[in-house]
């Protein structure tokens, strides 16, 4: 059960920014979620609808931009997407890699009415 605290955090950040911009309503929220940090799925819309009730963000749509993992091999400079069963570089089999994408867990932007 981590959806609740995550949804509460999204709501609190959203309302803070909405207030700063004198919003009368929040219509959309854009989330950026990396594949390797993903602890939420679309079901948090359900939590959202309950938690946001009575706020200017009531009924806002949550949009999820999922970021696939991208790794960069430090040995041969190959950039690749790992598979489920193999994370090492498919070209040179090195495990010395850098994670370029996939750790994101952010609110990117919100859409408001003023």
């Amino acid at each position: 059960m981590h959806e609740l605290p995550v949804t509460e955090s999204i709501l609190s950040i959203t309302l803070r920014h909405a207030t700063t911009h004198n919003a009368t309503k929040v219509t959309d929220i854009y989330l950026v979620i990396g594949e390797w940090s993903s602890i939420i799925d679309d079901s948090i819309q359900f939590h959202w609808d309950i938690l946001s009730d009575g706020t200017i963000a009531k009924g806002a749509n949550l949009h999820f931009e999922r970021i696939a993992v991208e790794l960069h091999c430090r040995s041969c400079a190959h950039t690749y997407a790992p598979t489920d069963r193999n994370l090492i570089c498919p070209k040179c089999e090195s495990a010395r890699v850098k994670v370029m994408k996939g750790d994101e867990f952010n609110i990117d932007s919100i859409e408001i009415e003023t």
Partner: protein, 221 residues
Amino acid sequence: MTKKVPVVEKILGANESLAEENRATLDEHKVFGINLMASPGAGKTSLIEQTLPKLAERYRVAVIDGDIATSIDADRAAEAGADIAVQVNTGGNCHLDAIMLKKGMEEIDFSEIDLLLVENVGNLVCPSNFLLGTHKSVLVASIPEGDDKPYKYPGMYRGVDALIINKIDLMPYIPFKMDYFRKGVEVLNPDLITFPLSCITQEGVDEWIDWIVEEVEKNKK
């Protein structure tokens, strides 16, 4: 009028701010904090039971145990010699977060403590996303879980500072490909310090204890 407002904030930023407050409390008293995470049954409590007697002469140790229900783990920690053991029941939450830890910490007089061991809720998914403010995060993996866990729970393996591979005494009985396991770990967390050990045979436990002592002493300086 409709407009788009850039936010670009970490979703769990508020938890991270609270985690910093916890860290400040620990630092104020020069207490070193370790967050132990693992799947249920990997051996977190057994490891604490092995660890406490070996540190008893050197340090005063507090243990905070997070669990959805019961005080079984805190009782075990107290029996094993913790100077104070606090149980935090998460009320259904699958992880400890910084606020829950703060509440547990409020029951401890840190002027009387050198080391805080936090035993997180058994879970390989959520605890990694909620920083607590401890100095180090340690993952307890175990042989019977299987060699594919780094591949299935990358977030957990990416976020830790040390890795314990528990139950190595079971290696002869379980098809665990250590090389495959370690390759996954290396991609996710290069140069991660690892401690293969067994809480039953005690093999490898001393290396883990030495690491704690080294870290506690570094923190005191």
